[in-house]
Point group: C2
Chain length 142, copies 2
DNA sequence: CTTGAACCTGTAGTTACTATAGGTTGTATA
DNA sequence: TATACAACCTATAGTAACTACAGGTTCAAG
């Protein structure tokens, strides 16, 4: 019975993250404590690669460590349903959309300022970007 | 000669941020150390409101504390030009656009998973969201 | 005078990593 | 077998940008 085993460096490489991050995820409770060699080195299996990949992808999608813990609980424990995952994913998609909207609003405002800025040769006193931001009240642009 | 003066709480309220944040910005070098009352309370002027507003708006636009320091140096010191501000703003706009693109890519992927998920009644073993994320290699969706 | 809000400084905590330091283990090579 | 070096270990501190807390002081109103 020969199960593929990885060192932590190999695991990290396969999941495209850092060794320290694996340590961190273990300490945070996302990754289980693995068996060790006699010398104390961690030994991982292919399932750990999958789990770490899952964590990384969830992070990329903006799920917090806490949320990922919840998702992993759905996977690890019986009596959980796809519906629970879908609910979390739907909220997350909403969150991402909100962020996109916010960034687009900021982008518009910033581009407006950039367009009005003639750039070369003008002093800061005449800079429309500074003029738009360095004021007491809210900018009048809408 | 009566110049309007604000306590730190009033300043924070007018600039829509917290007192602790003002402390933090002072320590970080963004806000100057203001004059004090005999009792040691900080006293601010209208120009400080403008400055703090500037800092807040720059933060909203995603400029880092370090970048804001640079921008404030342009404002505070002579011999700086609008072009320098425009250059920073342009890079920032590019950065924001990149973030929008990234988020939209993630959003697409996530929505794809959500659509495929029938939700109610299915166990985790049959969840397309988990199936897409909990794998060794990269997802095949493009 | 009393009371309570607002202020002060300094320190620690939050989130999610990331770096560093000092020591041990494992492997390859001579 | 000895050596050298990469990879591993644990523990602690640092990063960025705040935010909270603790204990004490000041200020203003009743």
């Amino acid at each position: 019975m020969k199960t593929t085993q990885f060192t932590i460096g190999q695991l990290a490489q396969r999941a495209k993250c850092k060794v320290e991050t694996v340590h961190y995820y273990e300490k945070s409770g996302l990754m289980p404590e693995p068996p060790r060699t006699e010398g104390g080195h961690r030994l991982y299996a292919l399932s750990d690669v999958k789990r770490l990949n899952f964590i990384r992808r969830c992070r990329e999608l903006g799920f917090s460590i806490k949320q990922i813990k919840d998702l992993l609980k759905f996977i690890d424990e019986p009596n959980h349903y796809c519906g629970e995952v879908k609910a979390m994913a739907t909220l997350q998609a909403r969150d991402i959309q909100q962020k996109i909207n916010d960034l687009q609003r900021l982008q518009s405002g910033l581009n407006e300022m950039i367009i009005q800025c003639k750039g070369e040769g003008f002093t800061i006193d005449n800079c429309p970007i500074i003029d738009a931001l360095y004021i007491v009240d809210e900018p009048l642009i809408k």
